[in-house]
């Protein structure tokens, strides 16, 4: 394989789409976190742009590595993630949860890294074992690989990130060779068992689920967010109320508006046009990602593409769905739009991996 990289072969659409998504996010985060007396350099937006800068830098670093080389990272990264997930449980709680490790001003969220490392390890595992030739014990392996971080993340608690692991896992098992029917049965058991899980949930998570069923149950507390978010989205109309023009956003009706509920800001200020543009851009990533999955002869690359694409696609779906009141509120950031350093950098790492698979794909 040639040692010289030809960046002309870079998938430009797959590179441009995340940056465009990020730009929509930058305007929305600026609007959502606007304070009249704050200097621009102190705003969250400047931080967010900094994270993105680091993210893009990482993309180019990843591109220099051969895809097959990435396997070597899989297990070490996985163990580091699990270690950090354990470590985070010993940090002081914030907002009733232990999700962040304070790295001198920057709050690192290990669960974000864990998602990516789970995908890498599964892709690595699946690349040298075929489903048909597996012993029963071997079949258990992927469940353990996902189960450990899944339970640790649930313990934090961070329901959103834990939930995201499920579609990723199912999609990758499917790609590996599990039958769709077996997976659907597995999913059904999971759903049926979830009332059991209900007892293990924290109070606020339970409230959120109940409120999802009926937002008017608690219109000031948990339901408040959903009602206000729906009003924000609905009042955006076709073209939105203009940048910085959203009353829902600026009247402090929307909580967590620069993080998990950023989509409401996009919708209120940018209207249907901005929402569909955002959906289209995520669609571009998803389409290109799954295409990579289907076309890459290397099984590792193919599995990796499958996991990453599912991760980004489902995160977008769950986040947008919850702000619209279509899904229960679980804390999932909208990739590259929500404010948050760990999320931005992890997503860009994932994009970097996709671009890498494309760039290093053997040509026929």
């Amino acid at each position: 394989m040639s040692s010289k990289l030809n960046f002309r072969n870079l998938d430009k659409g797959l590179f441009a789409a995340p940056i465009l998504i990020f730009l929509i996010g930058v305007f929305s985060v600026y609007s959502a976190s606007f304070k009249s007396r704050e200097l621009l350099v102190h705003t969250l937006v400047v931080k967010q742009i900094l994270w993105m800068g680091i993210g893009i830098l990482l993309v180019f670093l990843i591109l220099r590595v051969n895809t097959f080389r990435l396997r070597d990272w899989a297990w070490p990264l996985y163990f580091v993630s699990v270690f950090l997930l354990v470590a985070v449980l010993f940090t002081p709680p914030r907002l009733g949860a232990r999700r962040w490790i304070d790295l001198g001003g920057f709050n690192f969220q290990p669960s974000e890294l864990a998602k990516l490392s789970v995908i890498l390890v599964l892709a690595h595992l699946f690349s040298h074992k075929r489903v048909e030739s597996l012993s029963k014990r071997d079949r258990l392996m992927p469940f353990i690989i996902v189960g450990v971080p899944f339970l640790l993340i649930l313990k934090e608690p961070d329901l959103g990130t834990a939930v995201i692991l499920v579609p990723i896992f199912l999609a990758m098992l499917y790609g590996w060779g599990f039958r769709a029917r077996a997976l659907l049965i597995f999913l059904a058991i999971g759903v049926l068992a979830s009332p059991l899980l209900f007892f293990f949930l924290k109070d606020y998570q339970r409230t959120r689920l109940l409120v999802f069923m009926n937002p008017n149950l608690d219109p000031l507390g948990a339901g408040y967010t959903i009602i206000q978010s729906k009003i924000a989205i609905g009042s955006g109309g076709l073209l939105g109320r203009g940048f910085m023009g959203g009353t829902q956003t600026h009247l402090q009706f929307l909580p967590e508006k620069h993080t998990d509920f950023i989509f409401s800001v996009v919708a209120e200020e940018g209207g249907l046009a901005a929402c569909l543009a955002l959906l289209f851009l995520f669609g571009v990533i998803v389409k290109k990602g799954y295409a990579l999955c289907g076309q890459t002869p290397d099984r590792f690359g193919s599995g990796l593409a499958c996991g990453i694409t599912t991760m980004i696609g489902f995160q977008a779906f769950i986040n947008i769905g919850m702000t619209m009141g279509l899904l229960p509120v679980v804390g999932v950031p909208l990739p590259l739009v929500s404010y948050g350093g760990t999320s931005v950098i992890t997503t860009m790492l994932a994009i970097g991996l996709l671009l890498n698979i494309h760039l290093h794909k053997p040509l026929f």
């Binding site: 606007f34 304070k35 009249s36 007396r37 914030r94 907002l95 999609a171 499917y174 790609g175 008017n216 608690d218 219109p219 000031l220 507390g221 339901g223 408040y224 009602i227 206000q228 729906k230 009003i231 924000a232 989205i233 609905g234 009042s235 955006g236 109309g237 076709l238 009353t247 829902q248 600026h250 009247l251 402090q252 009706f253 919708a267 209207g271 249907l272 929402c275 569909l276 959906l279 995520f282 669609g283 998803v286 389409k287 799954y290 295409a291 999955c293 289907g294 076309q295 193919s302 499958c306 694409t309 599912t310 696609g313 489902f314 977008a316 779906f317 947008i320 769905g321 619209m324 279509l326």
Partner: protein, 577 residues
């Protein structure tokens, strides 16, 4: 099925999900868009926050030190009030007794770009509030909000102890995000109010209602009951607290009285003080700026945040160090000729004519510098520093009040590291009489004398006894290993300070109680010296320990000892002794 077929299927599923979102977006934003916009624009949702009552702060007998009362504010919602602001202000002016033009100016003076409500008149009283409520239909965009206002019946007297509350600031996002505070909430800013914030605070609830374009109530959408905070009972005696503040008047300083049963404080005062009631209103908060620029620093709690040279009260530590090192005994005699030469430098006693031959007890009684120069040099800097650390100097006492300072105890290593110079014996002499680099807080000085009084038990000082009937004061303590005979020798010295005819602390004498104590007069670097007194009573069965510190208060044996006498008299009258 090939991998590429499977990828196709996954793409299909995801696309379907995205399409589902898209369709719903069209439904919400285009088809139902007008209805939602109406909700956000014409018929507004309004949330009236109901504050959960903040817990009360009570003294040991249940007397109120901090409580909340209901107050009314008149506010305007800018985007609703704007249109008719001129007329509205004319309606409002006679009710509030203010000029219409002033009100209008206040409305326009709000920070630009802010969407918050504008506070038009604060704490207006129920009469005016009702009058405004009655005329609300002529005041579009105006509303009367209720707020609980914190009041402090003791005013200045307990300000440093009880602290105060202030409104949350815009830049305190952490509190809002993590603590679940809302923009209009109040948080403890100092003292007990701050330290026990998480117990005292109430959780606000509220009513969410729909109002029409004229701001009139249409219907209630939801209600969340507010919950109150917990009441906190202190170990402090409110009467003593105000009495001490009177004793101190405007004199800079601090006085602390400790109950030796469990280390609970009977009073903690710092002077000058401030009026915590001012923080309740915006007008009042403007005056707070004066406090902050006042060079007498009335906002600084000197009892726990001021570090000063202790002067002669530190001789207690020096004596114990020398006794423990077996360098002196109670019977060791040093001759004071008014001056001692160490390393070629003359070190003077405060009595320049000299005290003559003295044993340890006389050394204490006269607070003779020469005696303690000699004892200190024999013990050495390391032993004294070690003993000081055992008594808790240079460490936080762990009192349940915010912002405690550590003070400073020098050492040979420190001097070498910072000054790249060896430690001189002359410095040990200064150290031995509590001068030089040494800095202690009044609460640490109290810890020292309490430790002596309780025969080596060092209590963790605390001011809170119970939170809502749950005892929180653990009375935790640690022990010093002091030889009982050493302790006896020192207590005999402290006894002589008060009882002896030539004792420096004789002004602290009170009829009918045997007091042991020590005065201190510390060079401050300014014109006037700092005056100290530490002591306990009754000597044989100690019940209370006190520290009196008067910044630039002159001689410890005069100002501080006299104030201590008043304290002991009061404590006797109130049956604490």
């Amino acid at each position: 099925m090939s991998v590429s077929d499977k990828a196709q299927r996954l793409l299909f599923v995801t696309t379907a999900l995205f399409a589902f979102l898209g369709v719903n977006l069209v439904w919400m934003q285009v088809i139902k868009g007008d209805a939602y916009r109406a909700l956000s624009e014409k018929n507004r949702l309004r949330v009236i926050y109901l504050e959960g009552a903040r817990g009360k702060i009570l003294d040991r007998r249940g007397r109120v030190l901090a409580t909340s009362r209901l107050g009314f504010n008149c506010s305007a919602i800018p985007w609703e009030a704007q249109g008719a602001i001129q007329q509205s202000c004319r309606v409002l002016a006679p009710i509030l007794g203010e000029d219409a033009w002033t009100l209008e100016k206040r409305f326009y003076e709000r920070p630009p770009g802010a969407f918050h409500t504008v506070l038009m008149a604060e704490d207006i009283g129920s009469q005016k509030a009702i009058a405004i409520e009655e005329r609300l239909d002529r005041l579009p965009g105006f509303l009367v909000e209720t707020h609980s206002k914190r009041t402090y019946p003791l005013g200045e007297s307990a300000a440093h102890l009880v602290g105060f509350v202030g409104p949350i600031r815009d830049d305190e996002e952490d509190l809002m995000e993590i603590g679940g505070y809302k923009p209009a909430d109040w948080v403890g800013r100092d003292g007990v109010e701050k330290f026990y914030e998480s117990y005292l605070r109430g959780r606000s609830g509220g009513i969410q209602m729909e109002v029409n374009s004229r701001g009139r109530f249409v219907r209630t959408l939801g209600f969340e009951r507010p919950t109150g905070g917990k009441d906190i009972r202190l170990t402090v005696d409110a009467e003593l607290e105000s009495t001490v503040q009177e004793y101190l008047r405007a004199q800079k300083g601090a006085v602390i009285v400790m109950n030796l049963e469990d280390g609970g404080l009977l009073s903690l005062n710092s002077s000058p003080s401030f009026d915590p009631n001012l923080f309740a209103t915006r007008e009042g908060r403007k005056k707070v700026g004066d406090y902050l620029t006042d060079e007498r620093a009335p906002m600084v709690n000197r009892a726990i945040r001021g570090a000063y040279p202790p002067g002669s009260i530190f001789k207690i530590v020096t004596a114990l160090a020398a006794l423990e090192q077996k360098k002196i005994t109670a019977a060791t005699v040093f001759k004071c000729g008014g001056v001692l030469t160490i390393g070629g430098n003359a070190f003077h006693c405060w009595n320049l004519t000299g005290h003559g031959d003295e044993r340890l007890a006389e050394g204490f009684a006269h607070s003779c510098n020469v005696y303690f120069y000699s004892a200190g040099v024999l013990a050495g800097v390391d032993a004294i520093a070690e003993k000081a650390a055992q008594f808790g100097f240079s460490k936080l006492t762990g009192i349940d009040l915010p912002g405690e300072k550590e003070g400073f105890v020098p050492s040979r290593e420190w001097k070498k590291k910072v000054y790249h110079a060896p430690w001189y014996e002359g410095e040990t002499a200064n150290f031995a009489i509590g001068q030089g680099y040494l800095q202690v807080t009044p609460i640490q000085a109290l810890g020292m004398i309490a430790g002596v009084a309780a025969h080596g038990w060092i209590f963790k000082p605390h001011v809170v006894d119970r939170i809502e009937n749950v005892k929180v004061a653990d009375g935790s303590s640690r022990t010093l290993t002091i030889d009982p005979s050493d302790l006896r020798a020192v207590i005999d010295g402290l006894d002589a300070v008060i009882q002896s005819g030539t004792g420096t602390g004789r002004l602290a004498r009170v009829e009918g109680i045997r007091i042991a104590g020590k005065t201190g007069t510390a060079q401050s670097g300014q014109d006037r010296t700092h005056a100290w007194f530490v002591g306990f009573a009754p000597e044989e069965n100690p019940k209370v320990a006190v520290v009196v510190f008067l910044e630039n208060g002159g001689r410890g044996g005069v100002s501080a000892a006299s104030l201590a006498a008043l304290l002991f008299q009061w404590l006797k009258k109130a049956s604490y002794l």
